[in-house]
Amino acid sequence: MAAKLKTFVAAACASALALCAAAAMAHHSAAQFDFGQRVTIEGTVKEFNVTNPHTWATVELTDDKRGTRDAQYEGHSASHFYRAGYTRDMVKVGDKIAILIAPRRDGEDGGFIQAFTVNGKTVGFGGLSPETGKRTDSASE
């Protein structure tokens, strides 16, 4: 699932880099996230709040290094989520989720959501048309 997710977002953002960056910058002080990096995390959804001015999610992660703990992720606004193809109740508490993130610069858990896959559906943020689901032709000015 992780490899597929990365490919999807690379395609979505490649031709709309400015949009990806601009959307991220609009409401957020991006300083704490490294948008030059992409990391995929997988875990179980504990909270997923698609809200304005930005979305936030809590995901339970488990790995050998740090054990089981909750990590928090920020994301685009509710408007951007719905335009990117998110639908109401797509993500529920208890769902297994894979999230492609721009990680925190300090190396701690957490990051900015670039795309996610849940229940076989993937949503990415790269200027996708809400009507056609296709990516737009070029970067926004």
């Binding site: 949009l19 601009a22 959307a23 910058m25 609009a26 409401h27 957020h28 002080s29 991006a30 300083a31 704490q32 809200t51 304005n52 001015p53 930005h54 936030w56 928090q72 920020e74 606004s77 509710a78 408007s79 951007h80 719905y82 335009r83 200027g127 048309s129 809400p130 009507e131 737009t136 032709d137 070029s138 970067a139 926004s140 000015e141």
Partner: protein
């Protein structure tokens, strides 16, 4: 003057008035930022982030820009994070690539940016609010008139726009704006030009330009401050469920948000 002549003159004047009105464009519609076809550049002459270094700042302007840099801190604090409106002309730059809606009537052009449902009204023609009754705001007071096919607008009565990105201005700023349709690469594009004149910040006027193209999608309701209210109710609900005194305050909502950051 005969009654017939008066009727005739009246009819001619009415026809002339209709004719003048008919040639003025109707900007009504939903737009997004203009996207130049691939390989043709962005078609942008200026805009947010167009280059602060090149701005003709006065000494006081430099001081205020530096001060805002300190106020916003290393995390570049952003008013939109706290549901503050963008103001003019920042909202016209479509920060975050959200769509914008224009609704035109003969005496008013209403512009609604999706984020925070931020709304500005441009009053066209003779019906204007007296200067002393205008409440300063981040969108200011806008008076417009037609010059041919161009809507020419003067925006005044602004609040201090120290946080307006590359277009910071003081409460003494005046923004002259022009709206017109133009044909760009075969696409009907709405062209927007703003010139900011501000004796506090700039030694000469600075320009801000933007182009918009029709957007086929819908404008999505953008609740932002509403979320704070819901979060406050949720905190109080948790207290109620826990049998504790129901006394959460908005400061507690912000505390939760800050811990999340």
């Amino acid at each position: 003057m005969s009654k017939a002549l008066i009727v005739t003159v009246g009819a001619v004047l009415s026809a002339a008035a209709i004719s003048v009105e008919a040639q003025q464009p109707d900007f009504t519609g939903v737009y997004e930022g203009y996207r130049a076809p691939q390989g043709q550049g962005q078609g942008r002459a200026g805009g947010p982030g167009a280059g602060r270094a090149a701005l003709p700042l006065t000494e006081e302007g430099k001081r205020r820009v530096a001060e805002y840099g300190v106020l916003s801190g290393p995390t570049r604090l952003n008013g939109a994070t706290f549901c503050a409106s963008y103001g003019v002309p920042a909202m016209m730059g479509l920060p975050g690539s959200y769509p914008i809606e224009f609704i035109q009537k003969p005496d008013q052009l209403t512009i609604i940016f999706e984020v925070n449902n931020e709304t500005r009204r441009i009053y066209i023609g003779d019906r204007q609010l007296p200067a002393e009754q205008r409440l300063p705001s981040r969108t200011g007071y806008s008076a417009g008139h037609w010059e041919g096919n161009t809507l020419v607008v003067k925006t005044t009565d602004l609040l201090d726009g120290l946080d307006q990105g590359a277009n910071a201005y003081s409460e003494q700023a005046t923004i002259d704006e022009r709206f017109s349709f133009e044909d760009v690469n075969g696409t009907k594009v709405l062209s927007y030009q703003a010139t900011i004149t501000d004796p506090i910040y700039y030694t000469e006027p600075i320009r801000f330009e933007r182009r918009y193209q029709p957007y086929e999608g819908f404008v999505i309701p953008y609740a932002c401050a509403d979320e704070l209210w819901y979060e406050l109710l949720e905190l109080r609900r948790e207290q109620l469920k826990a049998g504790k005194p129901v006394e959460a305050h908005m400061s507690d909502v912000y505390k939760v948000r800050e811990e999340r950051e």
